[in-house]
């Protein structure tokens, strides 16, 4: 048995591959659901369908997907350029720090000044956290995977250090920051829901990123730098500078995610402000094919699974980590299935070649 390069790819193959991957993922996760003593079929219904059957559920899905939209597109921008930014987690956290700093320093600003300032500070925080690995990559050739990864735990320590020290809550003494000025509260997108304007900002960012990546000369150069850096350099693209810029934009967008989460949901900094959103962003970006539309669809799907997982763990007593298992399995299954698009298996009969 061996792999043979396909001559051309049939049109039905990509959707079929995704379908097979989803079925495999469902089949594999049925095992832990059974082990947890629940019926797989009703569990899957609660995972995937129940959140979408009520207005409230859909709103929760949009709310849960919001940080993933930011981190997903952030990772996609960097990956497109061939810059392996695994540090969206840290950049997200530092974005939250930046927003909290302005939000607790300039507390009396009215909303029209506070909200842009909050987002700006978030973007700046994320960008700054992305500078060191990007600089080391460009000027010393240090692998960015390692440096961005190592800065994630450091970012969490920065948050914890601030909350244990100077930013400890001045009224309760708990390790949460003070509440941001009320001007920083992102209004609800739909009245009486928890979905806030951060979702709209995320969509705007994704649309802009999508247009730039898919429709402009810069986008073409980014793609060239990512897919064939040698050829891109030969044809006059400064690959190093392009990756440096994409790395910084990626960090800034991840930082916007932190800003949105602080201003829209928590209204203060907590050490649990990111629920692994930066790491999940890698799943979102990769499954979404590093494209804007794909990122939106996958973020909504993972939002759906995550809301469903809360639901299942409450009702059926299955640990909520099943949601994370499902996402990771889906990632690996889809990637595996997609590899069949380029190769097909050829079974060799004994003797003949």
């Amino acid at each position: 048995m061996k792999f043979v390069l396909r001559g051309h790819e049939p049109r039905w193959l990509a959707p079929a591959a995704v379908l097979v991957a989803v079925l495999v993922t469902v089949a594999l996760t049925a095992v832990p659901i059974r082990l947890a003593g629940a019926a797989p079929f009703s569990a899957f219904e609660r995972y995937l369908v129940t959140p979408l059957t009520s207005v409230h559920g859909v709103q929760e899905v949009l709310l849960t997907a919001t940080p993933l939209l930011f981190t997903g597109i952030a990772v996609a921008i960097a990956f497109r350029a061939g810059y392996w930014n695994i540090g969206a987690e840290g950049q997200f956290l530092l974005g939250a720090v930046g927003t909290t700093w302005v939000g607790t320093t300039f507390t009396d600003l009215p909303a029209y000044a506070a909200l842009p300032l909050g987002f700006l500070a978030g973007a700046a925080g994320g960008l700054l956290w992305a500078v060191v690995p990007a600089w080391l990559k460009r000027h010393a050739g240090i692998d960015e995977v390692v440096t961005t990864l190592l800065l994630n735990p450091v970012a969490l320590l920065v948050v914890q250090g601030l909350l244990n020290g100077p930013w400890r809550n001045s009224s309760s003494g708990f390790t949460d920051s003070d509440r941001l000025g009320t001007g920083y509260d992102l209004p609800a997108l739909v009245p009486d829901s928890r979905v806030h304007w951060g979702f709209a900002v995320a969509v705007v960012v994704i649309v802009v990123a999508g247009v730039v990546l898919a429709r402009t000369a810069v986008g073409v150069r980014i793609k060239a730098a990512g897919q064939a850096p040698g050829a891109a350099g030969f044809s006059g693209v400064d690959v190093g500078r392009l990756q440096w810029r994409c790395a910084l934009v990626s960090g800034a967008v991840a930082g916007l995610g932190g800003a949105s989460q602080v201003m829209g949901v928590q209204h203060q900094l907590t050490s649990g402000i990111s629920d692994g959103y930066g790491y999940t962003g890698v799943i979102v970006a990769t499954l979404g094919g590093l494209g804007a539309l794909g990122v939106v669809l996958v973020a909504l799907l993972l939002g759906d699974i995550s809301v469903g997982a809360q639901n299942v763990s409450l009702v059926l007593q299955v640990p909520a980590q099943l949601g994370a298992m499902f996402s990771a399995l889906l990632l690996l299954a889809v990637l595996s299935a997609m590899s069949w698009r380029r190769y097909r298996l050829q079974w060799r009969r004994g003797g003949s070649r």
Binding site: L136, P153, L335
Partner: protein, 299 residues
């Protein structure tokens, strides 16, 4: 202020042990040209499976065996993704890490639902003397057997040559009759076993219990150590000792009153920052193995 030097060295050796095991595991896989980002998840798996088996059988030895088996399986799975299917090494490694950690957490919560279980019996400290020699046998084996053996095998045996050939140029290795697939699978499975031992050391020898943040980034540190050491065994061991020394010093200073004013988080971040600084200084002229991050397909 006084620092107990013996205690410091003793703590350093203990902290360095999982880094030596898992770091050499990562080094072996990277020598074959595979950046194995599943290391964090594989260490976590080893820690959890080792604990689970030891808790169920009452024997830390059976726990260790179970951890090794789980590590070999995790390596084989990584091999399926990056060798057989030729997927992107970054994404499949990270995906596998997320899957393994989520899977272990799921099982842990299912079985222990909020309890904090402890082992009836864990590995004992081998000697009783001063803090420096009060170490677990896995520490002794890691420094005195594993590291020299890995150095010798990688440098002077046919096996090591094969690995090196595949890592540097898989086309040439293939032409010379070396199976790229088999070599990479073997490297991943051996490496996975070593990573799992590194994780199991934390539960079976140090803690005697399992917590959800047990590995807490040690796998990522190993990846940095291997690049810092430029894929050589002794510099990697040295790097592990330096990192562990910083960590042990940080622990000592945290209980020293003169350093009360320094935030503990800054101390905790020091080892990570030190690795980045070391990379920035020592990693300037890194020449990566020729087939690093590439999937092999016979033309």
């Amino acid at each position: 202020m006084s620092i107990n030097l013996l205690a410091l060295i003793g703590a350093m050796l203990t902290i360095a042990t999982p880094l030596v095991w898992a770091g050499i595991g990562e080094l072996v896989t990277e020598r074959s040209g595979v950046l194995n980002l599943s290391i964090e998840g594989t260490m976590y798996l080893g820690a959890f499976v080792g604990f689970l088996a030891a808790a169920r059988t009452g024997s830390p030895w059976l726990g260790l065996v179970a951890a090794i088996v789980s590590g070999v399986l995790a390596g084989a799975l990584m091999g399926f993704f990056v060798v057989t299917l030729g997927l992107n090494q970054h994404v499949s490694g990270l995906g596998l890490t997320l899957l393994l950690i989520a899977g272990c957490e799921f099982t842990f919560r299912l079985l222990y639902a909020g309890d904090r279980p402890t082992l009836d019996e864990k590995f004992h400290v081998l000697f009783r003397g001063t803090e420096v020699v009060d170490q677990h046998w896995l520490t002794y084996v890691g420094f005195l057997v594993l590291a020299p053996a890995a150095w010798w095998v990688l440098r002077s045996t046919g096996l090591g040559m094969r690995l090196h050939a595949v890592g540097e140029s898989f086309e040439a290795a293939d032409v010379a009759g070396i199976s790229v697939t088999a070599t990479r699978y073997a490297a991943l499975m051996v490496g996975g076993a070593l990573m799992a031992i590194g994780g199991a050391f934390l539960t079976l020898a140090v803690l005697g219990s399992f917590t959800l943040d047990i590995v807490s980034g040690r796998g990522w540190v190993c990846i940095a150590l291997v690049i810092f050491a430029r894929w050589r065994v002794w510099p990697a061991v040295l790097g592990a000792l330096i990192f562990a020394g910083m960590d042990a010093l940080q622990l000592q200073l945290a209980i020293t009153s003169a350093f009360d004013a320094v935030p503990g988080e800054l101390m905790l971040a020091l080892p990570y920052l030190a690795v980045i600084v070391a990379l920035a200084i020592g990693g300037r002229t890194v020449r990566y193995p020729g087939s690093y991050l590439k999937a092999y397909r016979r033309a």
